[in-house]
Every structure is written in structure tokens, then in C-alpha cells.
């Protein structure tokens, strides 16, 4: 097994303690930092996401894998040269006004970060104005809105409506999700993308940029 494969295996199995050391060893072998990030870690998280989607692994196993990757990114990030950005895009993400659900949103953020994005977490119970303000950042490629209650689905509708009227609307895509949200509802309220779970969200995000 090559060092890079060893790193990928350690990320996949969530071995946070040995990942930083393996990244160091990869660097010492002269492997390109970009390859370490992409092949050693992001691809490994892709495998994890796929397994989660197929019900082969449980949520905590996805969490520890993402945690392990984070430890590795901390080591490799300073080695990525200028212009060799570690991120493939910036995303903002929040749970809509009136809704305090945090865990699902955080899981999605973690998986999207693991796919190579920089994600700004707007938190929970996020008013429309705050979404608009954050989306005004010209770097933002994706806006993610989460609603976990049937009673806050109207709030999701209002948020997406306001985002659709934003002057820089062409610059970003809108992703929505949450337990009561469906593909159909997402279309109806004018969102660009809906996914079922955190792993699928990460896969979809990659296709949006």
C-alpha cells in the first residue's frame, strides 16, 4: 500500500490520531500537497459519503472520518502554494428563521467541507436579511438553507424567494434540505438543488461549481 493509500484508508476509518503523521510522511516522500488533499483525503471522504448513502456505515463513522480529515487538512494547508487554493468554492449555510435545528445542518456542512469547500455557518434561526447579507459576498457560489419542521417550510419558501430576487442571483446556486423537504417542494419554491442526505449534498455541491 502506498503512503497516499494509507492516508486515504486512515481518513476513511476515522483514525484522527494517525492522519496528521501520515500527511507529514506523504509530504516527506515528495507527494504534491494538492494530491495529498485530493487523492489522500477528499476522495476518501467521497468513498465515506457513498458508503453512508448505501447504508453501509452509520452517522458517527462519517463524523469521525470528517474529523480525521480536518486534522490532515490542518497539516497540508500551509503547504499549498499561493494560487493553489485549498477550496473549490465558498458556501454559506444556515437553518431558516423560526427553526432551531442544528445537527443535520452541521453534518451537511462537515460533508461539504470534506468535499473541498469553504463553508460559512450562519447558524440556526437565521433571518432572511442575514442570508441576503452573506450571499452578497461575491465569492459565494452556493447558498444552503435548511428547515427541519413542517411549520418552518413557509419560512424556507420566503428565504428562497428573497434570495431569488437578490441582484447577484446569477452568481450562486441555492441548495435546500431537511427532513420534511422534498424534491418537489424544492422545485416549487424555486431552489436549484435538493438532496436527501449529507453525503448526497456534498456530491451535488461539487456539480454546482
Amino acid at each position: 500500500m502506498s503512503k497516499l493509500e494509507e492516508l486515504a484508508a486512515a481518513v476513511e476509518t476515522g483514525k484522527a490520531k494517525i492522519v496528521p503523521g501520515l500527511v507529514e510522511e506523504c509530504l516527506a516522500e515528495g507527494i504534491e500537497p494538492m494530491d495529498i488533499l485530493n487523492k489522500g483525503m477528499i476522495d476518501a471522504m467521497g468513498v465515506v459519503g457513498e458508503k453512508f448513502k448505501n447504508n453501509e456505515i452509520f452517522v458517527p463513522e462519517m463524523l469521525v472520518a470528517a474529523r480525521a480529515m480536518k486534522k490532515g487538512v490542518e497539516v497540508v494547508k500551509p503547504k499549498l502554494g499561493a494560487g493553489n487554493s485549498a477550496t473549490i468554492g465558498k458556501m454559506i449555510m444556515g437553518t431558516v428563521a423560526g427553526d432551531l435545528h442544528d445537527i443535520g445542518k452541521n453534518l451537511v456542512i462537515m460533508m461539504i467541507e470534506s468535499a473541498g469547500f469553504e463553508v460559512v455557518d450562519l447558524g440556526v434561526d437565521v433571518p432572511i436579511d442575514k442570508f441576503l447579507e452573506a450571499a452578497a459576498d461575491p465569492e459565494v457560489k452556493i447558498v444552503g438553507c435548511s428547515a427541519l419542521l413542517t411549520t418552518t417550510m413557509p419560512s424556507l419558501r420566503d428565504t428562497v424567494e428573497a434570495l431569488n430576487k437578490a441582484p447577484n442571483r446569477a452568481q450562486f446556486k441555492i441548495m435546500v434540505g431537511g427532513a420534511p423537504v422534498t424534491e418537489e417542494f424544492a422545485k416549487e419554491i424555486g431552489a436549484d438543488c435538493y438532496t436527501d442526505d449529507a453525503a448526497a449534498a456534498a456530491e451535488a455541491a461539487k456539480t454546482l461549481v
Binding site: G14, F58, P60, E61, L63, V64
Partner: protein, 266 residues
């Protein structure tokens, strides 16, 4: 949880028969099954009228043929235990000493400067103390002796003595008091017990054993003598560790499930 696999014990009729008939395959199978089930130690108890040391030797050789797990040498006789210690490949567990007779005086000097661990029962020559206070008094005596021989608390498994619930209503309540106090005094010490004792003479014993395990773990039990091939009990152990916040991200629970230590047989 430290799991002391109890199945190789001459007081169990099928094992007594295997010993009498020199049926080595039977013994090896028990050792293998307990290893696969996730045991930490394989307990070996001869329970024969004559030739205890020879029987222990025979049993230990068989167990070591099929598993690398350390062995718990189980005998009421300290002399038999000491005689059997050279038969094992690596330091294991002495099962057991207590405040009775000269058990401690014989065993502690022998294990003083070794890696051997030791089960110590909270009873003495007066029998099984009724009150938690009296058991803690025996415990204090055990610790005084351990200290004298430089035996670190982390090498001791204190058995506060599990009695049958059907004749002792307050068995669990008293155990809770004793276990918590032991752990408080020596955080690194192990608290152990023979789980199935609690359910003697009750119907459908396994549900009593399982509930006992949960309550006892909550009180500080972190080592136990039971049958690791009991999949429900194993599941309860891992679930309870997670519920007690001792299992980061429930990964131990998930891993044990994946290894098939509990849950439906695939």
C-alpha cells in the same frame, strides 16, 4: 469492560464430564468460542476432588493451544493457584483472594513484583458481611495488604460479592453503595462481580442478569465474570458504556456490532 469468560469451570456438569473423559476438544471449543465472542480473560476452574493442579495444567495447555488471551486461574485454594501459575504463557488473573484464612498472605507476595492481576472478594472468616459498611471494612483490609506488597490498585479487581436477589431484596442497593465507594477511593481500581449470581432461583434469569449488568456498570462495575457468548449481555455492555459517556461517537458500540459480538447473527 474487562470480560472474564466463565465457561471453562468444572462445576458446570458438561465441563465436569469433559474433564472426567479427558475430552480436550470440548475444552478447546469453549476457549475458542469465548475468544471470538470478545472475552478479555479465559477463566479456568478445575473443580475436581483430587488432582486439581494436574487438571488445571491440562486445561491451561488446551486453552493456550487455541487462544492468546491471558488466563484467569480460578481456585479456592491459594496453593493450587500458585502451583498453576508457571503453566501459563503470560501473566494473567488470579481468581481469587479474600479476607479469608491465609489467601492474601500466600498470594500477594507471589504476585508482588509481577504483572499479574488479582480478583479480591470482600468476605473474610466471618463469612459474607451483611452491610455495605462491613464489606468496605474487608476492602480496607485488602488494600492495606496490597499496599504492603506494592500492588497497584489498577491490578486489583474487587468483587463486592453479588448475592441472589430473590432472598436479598437490597442486594443491588447495597452493591451500589459498595461499588461507588470503592471507585471513589481508588479511581483506577477495577470493580468486578459474578453477574449470574444475582438471578439464582428466579425464572428467566437472563433478563435479570442483563438489567443487573446495566445498573452495576452505572455504579462502577468495569470488570465482570460472565458468559461472553451471551450476545444480548454483550450488547448491553457496549450500549451501557456508550450511554455512560465512555464511548466516543459510539464507535466501540458500532465496531463491536460490526464484529458481530451482538445483534442478529448474519
Amino acid at each position: 469492560m474487562i470480560i472474564i469468560g466463565e465457561k471453562i469451570n468444572g462445576s458446570i456438569p458438561s465441563v465436569a464430564k469433559a474433564i472426567a473423559e479427558k475430552n480436550g476438544e470440548w475444552i478447546k471449543d469453549l476457549a475458542k468460542k469465548q475468544t471470538e465472542a470478545g472475552a478479555t480473560y479465559i477463566d479456568v476452574c478445575a473443580s475436581v476432588e483430587v488432582g486439581e493442579v494436574e487438571t488445571l495444567h491440562w486445561l491451561i495447555d488446551l486453552v493456550q493451544e487455541v487462544t492468546d488471551l491471558p488466563i484467569a486461574i480460578d481456585s479456592p485454594s491459594p496453593d493450587a493457584i500458585i502451583a498453576a501459575m508457571p503453566f501459563v504463557n503470560k501473566p494473567g488473573l488470579i481468581n481469587s483472594v479474600s479476607g479469608e484464612g491465609d489467601k492474601i498472605a500466600k498470594i500477594f507476595p507471589v504476585i508482588a513484583d509481577t504483572e499479574w492481576e488479582c480478583v479480591a472478594l470482600c468476605c473474610d472468616d466471618t463469612g459474607i458481611p451483611k452491610t455495605p459498611e462491613d464489606r468496605l471494612r474487608v476492602f480496607a483490609h485488602i488494600m492495606e495488604e496490597a499496599n504492603k506488597y506494592g500492588i497497584d490498585p489498577s491490578r486489583l479487581h474487587i468483587d463486592p460479592l453479588v448475592e441472589m436477589l430473590c432472598t436479598t431484596d437490597d442486594a443491588m442497593a447495597n452493591l451500589g453503595v459498595v461499588m461507588s465507594s470503592i471507585k471513589e477511593q481508588y479511581p483506577t481500581i477495577h470493580v468486578t462481580g459474578a453477574v449470574s449470581n444475582i438471578s439464582f432461583n428466579l425464572p428467566y434469569r437472563k433478563i435479570v442478569n442483563l438489567c443487573f449488568m446495566v445498573l452495576a456498570m452505572n455504579a462502577g462495575l468495569d470488570s465482570a465474570i460472565f458468559d461472553p457468548t451471551n450476545r444480548d449481555l454483550m450488547g448491553a455492555v457496549f450500549a451501557t458504556e456508550a450511554l455512560l459517556g465512555m464511548d466516543d461517537f459510539c464507535m466501540e458500540y458500532i465496531t463491536a456490532y460490526r464484529e458481530g459480538l451482538f445483534g442478529p447473527i448474519k
